[in-house]
Symmetry: C2
Subunit: 123 residues, 2 copies
């Protein structure tokens, strides 16, 4: 019913995960390949590495960084490992910034682009 929440330490960890160009790009790329359905959507590590043109070990390092704080999830599919953005975690972080950090004083005009029709509503 209610979304997840995060505390200060978790927020710092998630912010750290996003505060790096490569990782922010990883997240954006995963969002573009997102699907709400649990076992669908996301991108294989290899595909990500090719898209971002970075070495596999480097990608692995950054994905691990994002995995442990819950910003992404992973599942194995054959010999590939599929990574997927965790939008609930991201929402929780943004809620933290809005509520705990800004005490509601930050007016964010939510004229954000509507979510993609096919990836709508929680599973």
């Amino acid at each position: 019913m209610f979304g997840m929440t995060v505390n200060e330490d978790q927020s710092v960890a998630m912010l750290s995960a996003l505060a790096q160009q490569t990782r922010l790009q990883i997240f954006k790329t995963l969002v573009a390949a997102h699907a709400e359905v649990p076992e669908e959507g996301g991108l294989a590590a290899g595909a990500l590495a090719r898209t971002l043109d970075i070495a596999p070990s480097r990608l692995s390092f950054h994905l691990k960084e994002m995995l442990w704080n819950g910003l992404v999830t992973s599942r194995r599919a054959g010999r590939s490992v599929i990574y997927k953005a965790n939008l609930n975690a991201m929402s929780a972080l943004i809620s933290y910034l809005l509520e705990d950090c800004c005490a509601g004083a930050c007016d964010v005009s939510v004229n954000a682009a509507q979510p993609h029709p096919t990836t709508r509503s929680e599973g």
Copy 2:
């Protein structure tokens, strides 16, 4: 009329500024002392240092980090330097996360606490 916007590099810089416990606490403390009126609100460096119980040089280091990316502003008042949270910058960052990073797919239930009545509306 419209709020400011930030690009990817600026977002990474601002995220880095927030991705550190001391700096996140600095920001929170400044938000608590915020006022919309331009030359009012904020906290002197010394007061901040005492509140957070950290060495002046350490505080200075972190404030500088937050100054250059616009997350806080400063003004001199006598021999004190008053630092103030820049909520417009924070709003811009959150908008970036919501729109550019999550492509609008992040539904943040804005049941955030209403802003403090005395600190409401833009100057």
